[in-house]
Symmetry: C2
Subunit: 147 residues, 2 copies
């Protein structure tokens, strides 16, 4: 029974949100385009993966977990890496213009990269990063050792 | 300055953990293999993306956020979709055997899928899902409309 393989992939990243359309508008203001989806969920296709927005209370109920902690920071961050150091600040500015909260302005970091952190409207934390040691693939793919 | 494109991709998913090696052992028990990385971070390459484990206190400090909420559930879930309904229960069993906590045992869900939820050692929530409407790509890629 234990021989089914757990492949190294994440099919769907779900972010719980207080207001679906408001949350979607933030990502659309960032330039993303949603794909058609049923009421109650909003989906953005990424590389071999989808990011979904889902109602906070509904998710808590699905999971059998209290909704009280939701909206805080539990220790998950999503990084969006860019090809050039100069691309970090404009994306941080765009996130702020869309209503995001800057947690750490664009700047150099100890490991040699250039990064910024922002929180989206529901407190989900994003990093915009240029990592000179992990160059991106032709379609923006990331892997630890770079392309 | 606002014309840099925010492509639809997540380069890195970072999970904050209390003990790096303990957390890595869980994912290794699930069958994942790490790639070489510097001290202080553990990396697993996924599809066009890396999942990283990073110290909880260090991440909070990097972000300028209190570490107190970390370890709770803030509303992010990661789904691992499988090709067959029968694959869900064995992966849930494997997660439990590795020390994970079952939040919702494998079973049918209202939208027509078959899913289970578990939390890893640090409380990060995973869904193991079979979605008959979104068939996976040749390498396990996921997109909302299916392949």
């Amino acid at each position: 029974m234990l021989d089914v393989k757990f492949d190294q992939r994440v099919s769907l990243i779900t972010l719980a949100v207080g207001d679906l359309e408001r949350a979607a508008a933030f990502y659309e203001a960032m330039g993303w385009r949603r794909v058609p989806s049923p009421d109650g969920v909003i989906a953005f296709d990424l590389i071999g993966q989808t990011l979904g927005l889902y109602d906070r209370a509904a998710l808590a109920e699905d999971l059998g977990l209290p909704a009280t902690g939701i909206g805080g920071f539990s220790g998950v961050t999503l990084s969006h890496n860019v090809r050039n150091e100069e691309d970090v600040a404009p994306l941080m500015a765009r996130a702020e213009a869309a209503g995001g909260r800057i947690l750490r302005p664009a700047g150099e970091v100890f490991w040699g990269g250039f990064i910024g952190y922002f929180a989206d409207l529901d407190g989900h934390v994003w990093e915009i990063a240029h990592n000179p040691f992990s160059t991106l693939g032709p379609n923006g793919e990331f892997r630890w050792e770079g392309y």
